[in-house]
């Protein structure tokens, strides 16, 4: 049985992940204020997407797998959002 991704893809993903790591560390030292936090988590989400799409083969997986992979993240997004709605409006 063949896997969807070729070894070169994993190497490219690895290079991309390390580049994003360097970027996020550099951004930590730039004076970005609240934008810094948003940038860090955007970079983290991009890195996570790269790992999940290619190393974990979600890009070529059955839609059902993709849906289940997203359920955890959506659940957490709802939990954090509703909790913050309470905390921020007290």
């Amino acid at each position: 049985m063949q896997l969807p991704a070729r070894p070169q893809v994993y190497l490219l993903v690895w290079v991309g992940l390390l580049a994003l790591l360097a970027l996020t560390i550099l951004a930590a030292y730039a004076r970005l204020g609240a934008y810094g936090t948003a940038l860090h988590f955007t970079i983290a989400a991009t890195q996570a997407a790269l790992v999940m799409l290619f190393s974990m083969h979600l890009a070529s997986a059955h839609p059902l797998m993709r849906a289940i992979a997203l359920i955890g993240f959506i659940g957490i997004a709802i939990l954090v959002l509703l909790t913050l709605l309470d905390v921020l409006t007290r």
């Binding site: 049985m1 063949q2 896997l3 991704a5 070729r6 070894p7 994993y10 190497l11 993903v13 690895w14 992940l17 390390l18 790591l21 996020t24 560390i25 951004a27 930590a28 030292y29 730039a30 004076r31 970005l32 810094g36 936090t37 860090h40 988590f41 970079i43 983290a44 890195q47 996570a48 790992v51 999940m52 290619f54 190393s55 974990m56 997986a61 059955h62 059902l64 797998m65 289940i68 992979a69 359920i71 955890g72 993240f73 659940g75 957490i76 939990l79 954090v80 909790t83 913050l84 905390v87 921020l88």
Partner: protein, 214 residues
């Protein structure tokens, strides 16, 4: 069971269906893992919003050099794991075994660096309940940051440890010729778990180490 040959369990029609069922199972488990860590991140978000100054102070006391190195180590271990799964699908036994042990080694390196970091934290009196001291007005709030820091990194390190044990087991099975291009589901599934532990760290790193550096 013959070596490296797939035995199809009676409840499945064919190998493809059996493999899909395993993949579905691990993805459901991984979704629960995301929920498990997600709760810790929810606690983090609430605490950080309430005590932004203490979190900035606490974040500056963490070791960005060690944590940055650890992130690179974990990303590299994810690469060797992905290549291991690929080697398994091609039936290259020697490459598979070599890549699996490489992944184990990188996982151990991650834990070793983490250990050095924890030791530094202890010597700097940053461990809550073990002589925590941060002279200044917001001491208990900075301590709260370090409670979350040790809880999140500790639970993550436990996952790394479990991952290492699983990959080492798979490596021994691989060297005994238990996998073949038609059957390597255990390698695949263990790889998915390892990648997820990596994905979680990608969020832990900015949350705890990059709070306020400028």
């Amino acid at each position: 069971m013959a070596e490296g040959v797939l035995a199809i369990q009676p409840q499945f029609d064919d190998a493809r269906q059996q493999r899909a069922a395993s993949n579905l199972g691990i993805w459901i488990f991984l979704a629960t893992e995301v929920l498990f860590f997600g709760v810790l991140f929810a606690a983090y978000a609430i605490t950080r919003i309430r005590f932004p100054v203490a979190f900035a102070q606490g974040g500056q006391l963490t070791d960005i050099a060690l944590a940055g190195t650890n992130t690179a180590v974990l990303l590299t271990s994810s690469l060797s794991m992905a290549l291991a799964v690929h080697a398994a699908s091609r039936g290259s036994k020697r490459t598979l075994v070599l890549l699996l042990w490489t992944t184990v080694l990188l996982g151990c390196a991650f834990l070793a660096i983490k250990g050095v970091e924890y030791r530094e934290d202890y010597l700097e009196h940053l461990v809550p309940t073990l002589g925590f001291a941060h002279p200044g007005p917001g001491e208990s709030q900075v301590e709260l940051f370090f409670y979350l820091y040790f809880l999140i990194t500790g639970v993550h390190a436990l996952h790394v440890l479990i991952g290492i044990a699983c990959i080492a087991t798979i490596a021994v099975m691989a060297s005994r010729g238990r996998f073949s291009p038609s059957y390597f589901t255990p390698v695949d599934v263990t790889g998915l778990y390892w990648h997820l532990v990596d994905v979680i760290w990608l969020f832990v790193f900015p949350a705890l180490y990059l709070v306020s550096r400028s």
